[in-house]
């Protein structure tokens, strides 16, 4: 997630993360599942490193991811480990800082018992770690770093979809599920997230045969006034508007202003709409949709309910969030890769097992593409009286 998007979810998931952070802190190094094995180079254990943001503004993400890692490791150990070996998790905090993340990763790379790393948490730290992973040939899976600019596919992979992928999926959803014909797009050129997703949508929409009647921009992704652009979009006869902005702009500004210039069609956005800030009149937000990684109401995926049950049992009935789910999947991806690499798994053989792997997880079923990002199913949520509700799951195009 990029820095701005990071800041946003903090409040959103703070409540959930608070209970998690208590659990996480009390565990210290998170290796209580294998407390009998102190030595790092013990051949009876497999060590997984984790680099996450556990302090600073994005701490809530990192804590949620660690909770997901821990749950997955505990489950794996309860079922006899990987290839008969217990799994040990070596957790490091990068404080949301690229230098700290690099140092933490290098420390893990220097420890020969570490077979793979899960993390880092946010896009900026992941971008810093990606070249280090290639240099030290230590495979890493970032659970939630969505930025398009991260170099993946060497030794760095990710569990989440890339930002721009959401634009492609939204175009597919508009064409195939909503069956609209005339679409419009509005994005902030000054923001890589907004413009990256917006441009990807426009390209995919044209490819899908949709009529892109308006392609409008704003200077930045935190403007307050969009009526001029929205008026043009309305006049162009759009039935569907894709507006990739953050929750703090789409909620109070874009959607009410769109309704006020008379636009009655669909408004759709990416995961930046999570925790949308809404004005008092919730009726303005009907026909608003957004894509996300995970929904507890996802009925199409049996793994989701098992995951929630298992998490609640281990965490005093607290609800897991998206980051927990992505973290949980990341560890299981490592497990699948290490199992494939076999008893004598090395970092290189694990890397080769991750590349191009097919995986079935809580956040969807997917295959990693050549660039190390998944082509995966995406959840679409729709707002009903201001509350996000599970709408459908969009499967990736073949």
């Amino acid at each position: 997630m990029n820095a701005k998007f990071s800041a946003k979810c903090v409040a959103l998931i703070a409540a959930g993360a608070m209970s998690m952070s208590l659990a996480a802190c009390s565990g210290g190094s998170m290796d209580d599942s294998s407390s009998s094995n102190g030595s790092a180079a013990n051949s009876d254990t497999i060590t997984l490193g984790s680099v996450t943001t556990n302090s600073g503004t994005a701490a809530a993400y990192g804590e949620a991811e660690v909770a997901g890692f821990k749950l997955a490791v505990d489950e794996i150990n309860a079922k006899g480990g990987i290839n008969g070996k217990k799994v040990k998790l070596e957790s490091m905090d990068d404080k949301g800082d690229a230098t700290e993340a690099s140092n933490a990763f290098n420390k893990l790379a220097g420890d020969n018992s570490v077979l793979g790393v899960v993390g880092p948490t946010i896009s900026s730290t992941t971008a810093a770690v990606a070249p280090l992973a290639d240099q030290s040939k230590l495979p890493a899976i970032a659970p939630a770093a969505t930025s398009d600019s991260i170099e993946t596919g060497g030794y760095m992979f990710r569990t989440c979809f890339k930002d721009s992928y959401q634009g492609e999926i939204a175009a597919k959803f508009a064409a195939e599920t909503l069956k609209v014909k005339k679409v419009a797009v509005l994005y902030g050129t000054g923001d890589p997230y907004s413009s990256g997703v917006g441009k990807a949508f426009a390209a995919a929409a044209k490819k899908a045969g949709l009529d892109v009647v308006a392609e409008e921009n704003s200077s930045s992704a935190d403007d307050t006034e969009y009526s001029s652009q929205l008026q043009k979009i309305q006049a162009a006869g759009a039935e569907f508007l894709y507006a990739p902005y953050y929750y703090s702009v789409a909620g109070p500004y874009i959607i009410p202003q769109a309704r006020s210039v008379g636009y009655k069609g669909y408004v759709m956005g990416p995961d930046g709409y999570d925790g949308l800030k809404m004005t008092d009149d919730k009726s303005l937000y009907n026909k608003v949709l957004y894509t996300t990684h995970y929904s507890p109401d996802d009925t199409s995926n049996a793994k989701v309910q098992d995951f929630i049950k298992s998490y609640k049992k281990a965490n005093k009935n607290a609800d897991p969030n998206t980051f927990t789910a992505l973290g949980y999947d990341s560890v299981y991806m490592m497990k699948q890769a290490i199992e494939k690499a076999g008893k004598n798994a090395t970092r290189e053989s694990v890397r080769n097992a991750i590349a191009g792997m097919s995986f079935e997880g809580v956040t969807g079923n997917f295959t990693l593409d050549k660039k190390g990002s998944p082509k995966k199913s995406v959840i679409v949520l729709e707002l009903k009286d201001g509350k996000p509700q599970y709408k459908t799951t969009i499967q990736p195009s073949k």
Binding site: G188, S248, K277
Partner: protein, 308 residues
């Protein structure tokens, strides 16, 4: 063709919507600059303070059965208090010891202090302001005009006229003009310069609270950094209108708003997509540079005469 004209008028009103808010903010800038020749860069942040007070007091005011806009009264009181404290604690000591450059830097420091201070108190996250007034949209045929825009413009004109009358006819207003003409001579004439300046700040800050009310009607969200860009745009408006001129601030704000809106609406078509609506901010700040080059005194300002 008819649709094109309606579209054009709608776009003008879209511009007036944000422009009327710029006007209210610019009035505060120009008021302070006109008297003490200080560009109060913290003015945008006074709006932020006012907006937080609105957000926090509206639920209580509504619970008392009063209309929500009454919350502007605590907002004015708070902004005046903050304005006077900032003046007394930061600007006055600097004014007595330093020059206009040190005063300007102090203003920037105060702006950062207010932004980061409120971030420490309220957190960095955005918060929604409850609905203040439901103003119906005016429909004239196909043309839709936002009611808040009209109220903001009317309010701006009332404030502009009131300020102009105040400055021209009251004893305090005359004292303000005298201080702006010549501070030393005013002291000799028995004018209490410090209390006159404090009064100026109190009025300017009170205006910020009124501006925050109209801002929150149209854009119902607060965050610690909300005043920064708004303040800058309003500053450009004040310079365009002629900083120090009260009607100039009003005109400047509306012009900036309309320029912004028309840029967003038409520049792409006019330039064949080479310059897009994303350039609207660049064009607004381009105006600042052109005004400073061509007519530094602005549209309605008096030409600056060097005082010896």
């Amino acid at each position: 063709m008819g649709n094109q004209i309606i579209m054009f008028i709608s776009q003008i009103f879209n511009g007036l919507k944000i422009g009327s808010v710029y006007s209210l903010v610019a009035l505060g800038y120009t008021m302070v600059y006109g008297i003490i020749r200080l560009i109060n860069f913290a003015h945008g942040d006074f709006i932020m303070v006012g907006s937080y007070v609105l957000m926090l007091t509206i639920p209580a005011i509504v619970a008392f059965g009063l209309p929500a806009w009454v919350a502007v009264i605590p907002a004015i009181l708070m902004c005046v208090a903050v304005g006077v404290i900032v003046e007394r604690a930061a600007y006055k000591p600097v004014r007595e010891k330093g020059n206009s450059m040190t005063a300007l830097i102090t203003a920037i420091a105060m702006s950062l202090l207010l932004e980061n201070g409120s971030q420490a108190i309220f957190g960095a996250d955005y918060q929604t302001v409850p609905t203040i007034i439901q103003i119906p949209t005016l429909s004239i045929g196909k043309l839709k005009i936002d009611g808040a825009t009209i109220i903001t413009i009317v309010l701006g004109v009332i404030i502009m006229v009131a300020l102009q009358l105040f400055v021209t006819y009251t004893k305090q207003g005359k004292a303000m003009r005298a201080v702006s003409e010549d501070k030393e001579a005013s002291i000799l004439m028995g004018i209490n310069v410090n209390s006159t300046i404090t009064l100026t700040f109190a009025i300017g800050s009170g205006l910020a609270a009124v501006a925050s009310l109209m801002y929150c009607v149209s854009y119902p969200q607060v965050s610690p950094m909300m005043g920064a860009m708004l303040g800058l745009k309003a500053f450009v408006a004040a310079v365009l209108g002629g900083i120090g001129s009260i009607p100039g601030a009003m005109v400047g704000g509306l012009v900036i708003g309309v320029v912004e809106s028309l840029t967003k609406a038409y520049i792409g078509t006019i330039t064949g997509g080479i310059i897009t609506s994303a350039f609207s901010d660049a064009i607004v700040f381009g105006i600042l540079i052109i005004v400073l080059l061509v007519k530094p005194s602005g549209l309605m300002g008096e030409p600056e005469t060097e005082k010896v």
